[in-house]
Symmetry: D3
Subunit: 194 residues, 6 copies
């Protein structure tokens, strides 16, 4: 059975629960229990089930689990990149995640529009500036662009993780946009304060 | 021990063999045996070893293994996207892969420069055109851009795979460029004919 | 007296209440009473007091008062243009206004990121598409670009008003950005529903 | 009665004299007397009469009357911005105004094409450089871009006026282009010397 | 002897008359006699004398002598391309040439700013549109872009000449800009009518 | 007689041998003897025979004969510019020429994709950087951009030659693309080593 077939959240067909790998069905159940809803990305992209699982294993390790950068730093990158690529699914859902990790109901909106106008601390500014350049002008990036990251204290493992998170959102923004994915309505109001 | 430490193939440190997960060491050995060299990406990105493995599991499934599209079609997308993002590592290495799968020593070069001037069949042209738009102007992409893909016969599973391959190269181009990765010299001459 | 001098809401000095024209002081008082706060634009731009008043008279007539388009339509244009120009002050404050007029807590966020992904009705889509072209590529606009507006039923007075609202936000986005104006925190949460 | 109805100077209908506010009729008469012709903008935009008057009150105060910057400085900004936005109406008419205020038949043409090649004094160069950045890349502007203006001696009132003039021409260029307004032929030859 | 050494018309040294080939000296004398001045391009570029002569032989044949297109059509292309590349030397000098060949003091200015707003006949519009695309987006040009030229009656020899003239101005604009060449003052007022 | 009529190497007709000037026939014969083939540019562009000859005289003097820069330096510029303009004919054929002059089978490919990633010596880097700016942003070039060229030792004659070579490839890229010229297959494998 598939609760999603009546919702227009993708330009491609949604998979039936019978057609997805067992692991995907578990992910759906776990999300429903944890959040009260299943993020639309888990349904829409699961149309090619095995590829979705391989992507999710990578994304989840890179962006969500304990890593070199904090979760807030990785979500900041996600919001900057998603805003630049103008991807509604990712900008809205990771905007909510950034509000969650920072417990700040204002900065996430500003970063999604223009990090230069968000009064960020210098470490966050350096990450945002690098994320912007690597997103909009990858051909002009050279190792000298890493210097401002080192100047604010990032080590090489943190830098490599930042690079991959920037890369990842440049992938997922394009996939979400191409599929015309719609963000779950819940994301818009999460973390906006009392 | 690590044979790579003396080669300048990355802006970040290269990992020692002792520092990478067992699976990475096996991948290095297998590559050496199969190709006579270890692709530099397997060394450079393995500096964050677990994240590298998760990426490679996904990339290998999506781009190399049996999928919905042919290997040549997926490499064609890779060359188009890598040329647009002007990433030397990916354009040179996947240019070689495209020559391998097509057994054509000429078209791969043309596609890497400008697919419009490569006299591609209509299915390949449709894939290349879509890859270009989703790469350079993701914010302008809508479901109507999928119509030309359907018109040349792609089904929804093939379309979703194409979208993810386009996304993947938009990720890996940025990672390779940011790390200043250098393509192995072997790629330049592979598949250029007698 | 001036309550604003301690707040960093502009890259230029803030005016003392004594230095602004009487009409500006009345506007401040009226805003405080109506909204519970004075929009930062009323303070920051009033540094050149007479020019501010002339601007406000025009802006208020064009955007806020009864006109040819509905208030929601004019705010929709404002959010589209401000998102494209990546102006935090205008995107956040007019995003709140659009939520107010539409009583819709979701669409405003989507429009500010990418109107193509906001599932707009055809009249709103036509306005948004025209606003985007006139904002990002004014040199390529010709009278033929008005045809889609006429096709969804806009008459010539509505078209002229839409054009001027698009122009106005291209002005105010640049002024707000240049001055590094900061949106009042209240705007972020207004109209987000129960 | 309306002398303009037979001239193709706008993509929208021209107003009858009976349909415009009294103040507009007076402006037409005054222009005819002063210049020997009525600038087409006074006719075309008056189709929405009250909004035109509010705009003109603001524009006239900001650009023409005594302000913080000289008239030549404000027209220089107007020509730079109008050239970048490729608006014929504004570039030609304000090109004539710049020749008038500078009594220089050559520099105005150069500035309209490329201020970098016009051999401007440093104050004018700083204004032109700032006008270009705020026009073509508003999202990248920060308060640090004001430093070169301060370095050539502009005070905060002059800076705010410059910002608003830049904003104004980004508005009026879009309005004139959208309406397909045609510059009065008289502007082309004004101020070109003996 | 060399009359030019005291004039700042190039970022590079000006040649002495003794240092240029005999043909260049004759060209200078002939220009002085015909126009009352020597176009600055003849002096500045002659610093590498033989290369200048080879360029001039080609330019003069392609742009000035009897060809497949009229002189006015070739100058129209030159003005469109030079305006897009924002080259003052070429835009001003060929703007004068276009006024000369068309005996029209108005259209040349409009074309230099934005041909879309110059009310051009369809043949001239097709040439201008093609010149714009080949100038600003050469990578996107395909043979299908030639169809509008054929539709307004251009034959293959005319089309090839148009292509080469577009190419030529893309060359000469870059050379003139790189050298910071200054247009002779005479060009500004030529052909502006009684 | 004309051996080329059966090959699709141009969007325009190919000339018959009888229709081209005597000098063109000699050039064809000389090429056939020297290279074993006639470069397609010599056939396709000769459709307007006299203009082709004037162009070739200039191109051959500027790019091929003894000049101020080495042949490798001029071909480097050609490959950089042709890669940026995404012209297959010029990028492939001059890529081969650069391999020939440098006797390096790797660097030419890298330069064609992204000179920043080709590990060039400082003189070649300075030339490549200047070629990129003058190609993609001519309106922003000023004499200050010549300083890095002087800093690596270029004299004024070398600088002028570099400028003209950059200009020339901006011309020939557009002509080759517009005509849809196809590179001779021989170029792809030339100079790739044992």
């Amino acid at each position: 059975m598939n609760d999603f077939a009546d919702r227009s959240i993708s330009a491609l067909p949604l998979p039936d629960a019978d057609d997805v790998p067992e692991g995907v069905r578990k992910l759906w159940a776990k999300s429903q229990e944890a959040f009260g809803f299943v993020p639309n990305v888990f349904v829409a992209q699961a149309y090619n089930g095995d590829q979705f699982q391989a992507w999710w294993n990578y994304f989840n390790l890179l962006v969500n689990k304990a890593g070199h950068l904090t979760n807030a730093e990785r979500e900041l990158i996600g919001v900057v990149v998603s805003g630049l690529n103008r991807c509604t699914y990712c900008a809205v859902s990771h905007g909510a995640a950034l509000r969650f990790y920072t417990e700040d109901p204002v900065t996430s909106d500003l970063v999604g529009i223009n990090w230069r106008q968000a009064n960020l601390p210098e470490r966050e500014s350096a990450l945002a500036a690098y994320a912007e350049k690597l997103t909009v002008a990858p051909a002009e990036v050279t190792p000298s662009d890493l210097e401002p990251l080192r100047a604010v204290g990032l080590d090489d493992h943190e830098i490599l993780e930042a690079i991959q998170v920037i890369g990842m959102f440049n992938m997922s923004n394009r996939v979400s946009t191409a599929m015309a994915m719609v963000p779950n309505a819940e994301y818009h109001s999460q973390g906006r304060g009392a």
